[in-house]
Symmetry: D2
Subunit: 445 residues, 4 copies
Amino acid sequence: MGAPSFIKRLIRSVVTPNERAQAERHARRVIEIWRSLLSERGEVSGAVLARDALTAYLELPETALAAFFDQLARGFAPDEAALRAACDAYRAQPSPASLARLQHAVESPRQELFRRLNQAPGGTSALVEARRNVLSALAEHPDWKTIDSDLAHLFTSWFNRGFLTLERVDWHTPAIVLEKLIKYEAVHAISGWRDLRRRLESDRRCFAFFHPALPDEPLIFIEVALVKGMSNAIQPLLDVNTPVADADNADTAVFYSITNCQEGLRGISFGNLLIKQVAQRLGEEFPRIRTFATLSPIPGFHYWLNSVEGSLDPTPETQAALATIRDPANTEWMRSEQSAESVRKTLLPLCAYYLLHAMRNNEPADNVARFHLGNGARVERLNWLADTSSRGMQRSAGLMVNYLYRLDKVEENHEIYIKEHRVVASHEMRRLARECVLAQPVRTS
Amino acid sequence: MGAPSFIKRLIRSVVTPNERAQAERHARRVIEIWRSLLSERGEVSGAVLARDALTAYLELPETALAAFFDQLARGFAPDEAALRAACDAYRAQPSPASLARLQHAVESPRQELFRRLNQAPGGTSALVEARRNVLSALAEHPDWKTIDSDLAHLFTSWFNRGFLTLERVDWHTPAIVLEKLIKYEAVHAISGWRDLRRRLESDRRCFAFFHPALPDEPLIFIEVALVKGMSNAIQPLLDVNTPVADADNADTAVFYSITNCQEGLRGISFGNLLIKQVAQRLGEEFPRIRTFATLSPIPGFHYWLNSVEGSLDPTPETQAALATIRDPANTEWMRSEQSAESVRKTLLPLCAYYLLHAMRNNEPADNVARFHLGNGARVERLNWLADTSSRGMQRSAGLMVNYLYRLDKVEENHEIYIKEHRVVASHEMRRLARECVLAQPVRTS
Amino acid sequence: MGAPSFIKRLIRSVVTPNERAQAERHARRVIEIWRSLLSERGEVSGAVLARDALTAYLELPETALAAFFDQLARGFAPDEAALRAACDAYRAQPSPASLARLQHAVESPRQELFRRLNQAPGGTSALVEARRNVLSALAEHPDWKTIDSDLAHLFTSWFNRGFLTLERVDWHTPAIVLEKLIKYEAVHAISGWRDLRRRLESDRRCFAFFHPALPDEPLIFIEVALVKGMSNAIQPLLDVNTPVADADNADTAVFYSITNCQEGLRGISFGNLLIKQVAQRLGEEFPRIRTFATLSPIPGFHYWLNSVEGSLDPTPETQAALATIRDPANTEWMRSEQSAESVRKTLLPLCAYYLLHAMRNNEPADNVARFHLGNGARVERLNWLADTSSRGMQRSAGLMVNYLYRLDKVEENHEIYIKEHRVVASHEMRRLARECVLAQPVRTS
Amino acid sequence: MGAPSFIKRLIRSVVTPNERAQAERHARRVIEIWRSLLSERGEVSGAVLARDALTAYLELPETALAAFFDQLARGFAPDEAALRAACDAYRAQPSPASLARLQHAVESPRQELFRRLNQAPGGTSALVEARRNVLSALAEHPDWKTIDSDLAHLFTSWFNRGFLTLERVDWHTPAIVLEKLIKYEAVHAISGWRDLRRRLESDRRCFAFFHPALPDEPLIFIEVALVKGMSNAIQPLLDVNTPVADADNADTAVFYSITNCQEGLRGISFGNLLIKQVAQRLGEEFPRIRTFATLSPIPGFHYWLNSVEGSLDPTPETQAALATIRDPANTEWMRSEQSAESVRKTLLPLCAYYLLHAMRNNEPADNVARFHLGNGARVERLNWLADTSSRGMQRSAGLMVNYLYRLDKVEENHEIYIKEHRVVASHEMRRLARECVLAQPVRTS
């Protein structure tokens, strides 16, 4: 059940007043069962009633889902009178006791409801899926926000890093997990089992976080290539026909893809943990590997380039370069070393400038940059014609960047990044950025 | 580290002003590390800093623990000004938005702190142990209640039934788990490995709930004997020399012991779930088993007997019976069938009356009765000279009771029990209770 | 390394006298290491030397393999003098002692050599592979038979049914095993992962035997469809678009494919065990399933039909039918119910006659029939247009047969089959066979 | 079922002619079932009939076992005529074909019988147990040797090192395995669970070989202490109250006990493999551990001492020393440093001489010495008052010896030992041995 189809269903779902009434009735029936789960009876019958409640929900016709979430959002709120009283008591006399009373009064019964539903087999999975649906339709149904908040609060506890296991994914992994990788991979699509198999060979690594209640569902996974020297282009890494290299000769681990799998766990992030934990683990297995770096897209670069085009002092070279890359489908010019070189000379300084200085709300404008810089990585190197796929040209103008993870520096880098709003970058990157026309003092006259 | 020793350490711990100051310093140092875990740095360094924070705490000298909990209880409270403002906003205009703001403001940062600590290996275990210590000293340190509340709130989420696994414990179980059974068993002490082995033979069953983060720690376990006919005495069940019977001939499963293992999880109960889930599982494995019942102590009976002695109309038989059982060490009289029978006749109606009618705050006075009746069981049968151990004589006057679990009746029984404050009991038990002198209309004249 | 390529390599391998000499030298070097493994040193250094010996063998250039097997077959024979003496001693005085001496003298050292090689990691797998190579070239190298015999003797012990585990293969199975299914499937080829996935859905079952030393290698596997009523055609079973049915409604398990995976284990058969063990296991999981039957090709039918064509009394109908099916590529006629029916009427009696009466050396001419009848199944039903694939038309003239396994009858059926050389068949099959022109008394006049 | 009880049962078993006849009948009935297992029916019914055959055997009354083994030994021999003919054919013309025929004719059907029995669940275990019984009564029943030989031949294949797994045994190991350690330990008895637990703490290691068909049965296990410096006394190692040391500080692994568990696998040795494999594994886990040595008893020393007493030139010191240790129960003298030292001075050279020069059939007289020297170890150091238990005094006169395993020397040492019949020993040991009076040139008055 994908988000788009859910939204489509919502749109499709309510057509006539008659249908609407029927959907309401359906939804109400399930809400009643859920309500009984919160009663004394729910306490004693435990998992049995939880199972019934979950089944009733899962069997709801698509047309009744929106009505159901509406009622779920409206009901199960904290008792207003009790909460007012608790507020008053705290205002009158802030104390551990009045605080405790307030904490108790403010928790919505919906949370207890979700905790009880979770007792049913498949409960965790169904709740994650429910949040996915809610999130996907939040724009149209802003009042569902309360459902989202309550689930997010629970998930923050349930999916605590302490409960996750880091597992290597390889060709010994069950097919039911592997097919999820094919399905979820968000950075460089996996074209099928053969492509997947190449990515799991002995010179590649794939790791994922799993939660005990979702044994067949990776929460997030990362793909790594074990290579000599920091990779400067993605296509050779992805090519299924690349010969398998001897991992024991590798000196560099290149993280070339990281994918959050569960839309329903949005905001409960483990990505920053995964990347560093994998680096540490690889370092133990391969003592020769000293460099840990990404090969990342710069997804906002081309867009930004267009947006600043006006403010660029249009030298003929710049104009030519921008014109050249305008059409992502046109790759003819790449074959000429001369023209490629000429574009490179123009774009590299611009891109360095973009990564180091293009800000939005005091943070780098590029969202991939934000992620890695927030993790304590530094901007290391730009690579020209590193992703010549049409998507790579369209978003990143063919460039890719290596973010470097030095485990002994991540805290320090992070500190600089957070406190001084400064992007940590290699000398070369800073040099390049300075070359950029945008970095030049405005020429007067 | 047992609760008593912790209290003793607390008492012992602070002796001189000098020592007190040193303990304060020690504690403060750890609190500072914990505080840094809540900072931005805690976010980026993740499990690494959590590990340091946990280690620092675990290495605290005993003398500094009380000071540490004091500081932990004082610090990490919600921001008072922000909370006041959130209260005001909600009072002024109760809405999902103001509620969300209030919910956010009211959560103590201590909870986030514990969530981050939990990322460290061994974190969950250390937090459960911390709560055990806090609970054991709560009477002397009432302000530690906030620590207890925050942990309890997290544990309610973390130890949700949906995350627990029900596992059979037998002779194939690792020794590290089995020794915990010997250590924890609270109802009928296990005297050693030989005793344990008998309880795990093929005509016995033992099941426990486990949590993935505490793989070697049973949370609660139940011991079952597979027998013909409802057992009427505990000593034969426990006797290590009882020949092993063929479980396939059994028609009854007798639950003779249920033990909560983790003091630190007090109040996060799974007992009611365990008993019914085990009944269901046994029913599937042994289709011939139709009866599921306990063989339980009546721990409050002897005490109650003494307390009502004054209001009993002292017939000579009653007086004699009460005198006979007064000294638990005296078991001479049991050997005479006649005297045993005479005591039986007096005690049975009294005990039936106790179980069915002796109430405290609208609930049965006997705490074991409360547990099983609250689970939807019914009081089925009294057994005379069923536990002749000194503890059994002292607390239960040698009687034991079978609570009967009929899976198709537990909801209904529970309903009656909760709504009508009525104890569900067999016909025979009700007859016995009516015979009791306390049930007689007061004789006038 | 597939058998054909090995033969090709053999053919390719020895070209010039110079190359031949080099190959001999290569081979001799490895034989020397193998010989040292049999010495005292092999005893003390154990797995270490075994590993070296195995590696040396696995690194042999292709061109040297034939020379190697030649030397392996020549060397390592029992000591002739000692064996002669043992023969004489036994002839002179047959006794347990002289028998034991003879048994000892007759065992070729090659067997002990293989046992020691097996200590190396990957040893078992390499030896199975070695036998596969030897078997594939036995026609050209008849003296390699001794290698084959020694390995076969060991494998009979090593791959004893008592050491195999029966495991369900499904979508939770590691990909490394699943890809072997795609590779090995010999009856109805698996076209890829999507095809495989359909065959592992909840209304299908796949079971395989595994050996602990070859954890990623199925030895043999069987595919089963859980259906209502005995299937009468294979294409619907194999169609990836067939909706998944509810297995709990099934009353019949149809074994539609069984594949021996390891050429190197030829003759060490487990197939007859697998089919019955799977039937038993399915019966336990699905009590409603009462019928266990195959849907099998009749691979010798068309060939036999051609061979007997001359002896058939050529009625016009028979002639027409035979002409119709002659060209497997022509399937036009199937679309006309009338012509299909006409062919059916002719072929069914012929095929029944073929299965029940066409013999070769006192056994059924059809090798699939031999397998199932030898297992104690009975010929149950013929199905017309049951396999319309080109292979199905070519070999089985579009027919398939159900062999019925009644677990309580297999011993009895087997007895009849072995002792009386009689094919056990359903009433209907016998009736059909009697209708066949070949079964008619020869018409005189 | 222990060996002694089996022999006792045999002795007890046949009392009257009547009982004897009944035992014969019982035995014959089972033999008939076993015979049917060898028939065609055994082929088709596979594991089912094997199970029946095994059950029938296991249910044999004790009184019938001897009769059963008698019949088993008599029956199932190779066909004499066929074997004679095969002998003749080979004598006439030795060729691969005639050899193969002879190999086939010489194998006793008993082996195929055992292979088929092994298909039954528990088959392997029952066959190992059967051999144990046969071996324990072989002296009284020499004709059972054929059973022993056939089983030994199979076990050599089945228990090939390649099929065994080396597993660490610790407190996470299932109790069912741990209790076997207590039961089997043959060198330094384990007094109970507390003793066992100390031997499995973090500064100790225990490893065992397991076979997949006997998952709960260690075949052989070794106990190791991780210490600083080569241990010179056993009692401190075994003391349950010894504080647990930090294994990371250890520089030496001391193998202080190695036990073959399965009498029924006598002669199928894995001990020499285990010790070296464990050394390698420990070396990987603890890079600081450089020394691998045993702390071993010298079980034949005291006995030898008595036997050579006559040939010793009885200096007063020697006489006094021998008198002192004569009574193992008298340990008074140990407390006096002076007397202990005096005995030491006398015994050490004698013991060194014993280990290096006392031979029986060209091999060291001491059987523990034979084992370790045969494995390629060298005699490193003698330790005085190293085992003061009564058994240690009685057999080894209180001495223990360290055998040193240098993995890079074991092959070379073994070679010297085997080819030159020379005991490899440290310089110090050789010096000590030279000091021994027995090593002195005979003094001529």
